[in-house]
Symmetry: C2
């Protein structure tokens, strides 16, 4: 692991909040999907660099990550805000978001899940742990806002196998 | 919340890995303790800025955080490596580490737990969720290295109420 991780973290977290990052996953049939994430934690755990993402069980992405045990997080370049918004609004169950949004998939370096060419920073992650949000320990206000359908997030802890700036196709 | 969060995150994560950060907590009797952490995740969750810390149930700090529902994370200034190492090696059950290490406690802005004057960046956190590492989902190699005594970490998710550079006493 190179020191890129620390170098990109500020920009990653800033853009996580606005407009969001693109989470890519692949199911057991080799089909990939993308969704937008506005939440996530980055740091160190079990002496590994880790990117934790939160995915509701109802999301198409949820079982894709469970299937492959991998995901990539991609920080969009400027000018993609509309795409990032769209990828957060529609489901891969009904839409091929890569095609609709003209997003190009590139082979990753360390995982089978691809990265997105139109992004500037890529994280390739391997799931090393997962936990579910515990309903009884969620603050009432949070529960009311985010869990009216009791669709409590799964937290996937991904070991960052590679982190790098935009690579050439 | 000011944008300080994004500004300090790179330095925080870099120094988390080496030499470590100082986690301060306070129990129900008002007694404070400090321990060194080399692991932690930072980012956004439930639309809040969050600092997640991992504490084993056997640690003195564990029940302090449970008691008060708060903690502070302090990024040591340069030259404190010996202190950071010491605070990770001995327990507050037998040692007053603040006194022994000549660490000065200052009143925090948003929480009752103090911050450490001899540090350069401070995070004041309120626990909004907690989860325990699930033994059956820990990779075998991780289990062997970090859990020979089955002392699985509690993950405290702290909402960052304030993040700022060294304040004057």
């Amino acid at each position: 692991m190179n020191p890129a991780f620390e170098k990109y973290i500020a920009e990653t977290v800033t853009r996580l909040r606005k407009p969001g990052l693109l989470l890519v996953s692949t199911n057991k049939d080799g089909k990939s999907n993308v969704m937008t994430i506005g939440w996530g934690l980055i740091g160190v755990f079990w002496r590994m660099r880790v990117f934790m993402v939160a995915v509701r069980p109802s999301r198409y992405t949820h079982d894709f990550i469970r299937d492959s045990g991998e995901f990539t997080v991609n920080v969009p370049r400027e000018g993609l805000d509309d795409v990032v918004q769209y990828c957060g609004e529609v489901s891969g169950k009904e839409h091929d978001k890569f095609s609709e949004c003209k997003l190009t998939l590139l082979k990753a370096k360390k995982v089978k899940v691809p990265v997105i060419k139109e992004c500037k920073i890529h994280y390739e992650c391997q799931v090393v742990h997962q936990l579910s949000v515990t309903p009884s320990l969620v603050p009432a206000r949070v529960k009311k806002i985010f869990y009216p359908r009791r669709d409590y997030h799964t937290l996937y802890f991904g070991k960052i196998l590679a982190a790098y700036k935009k690579r050439s196709p």
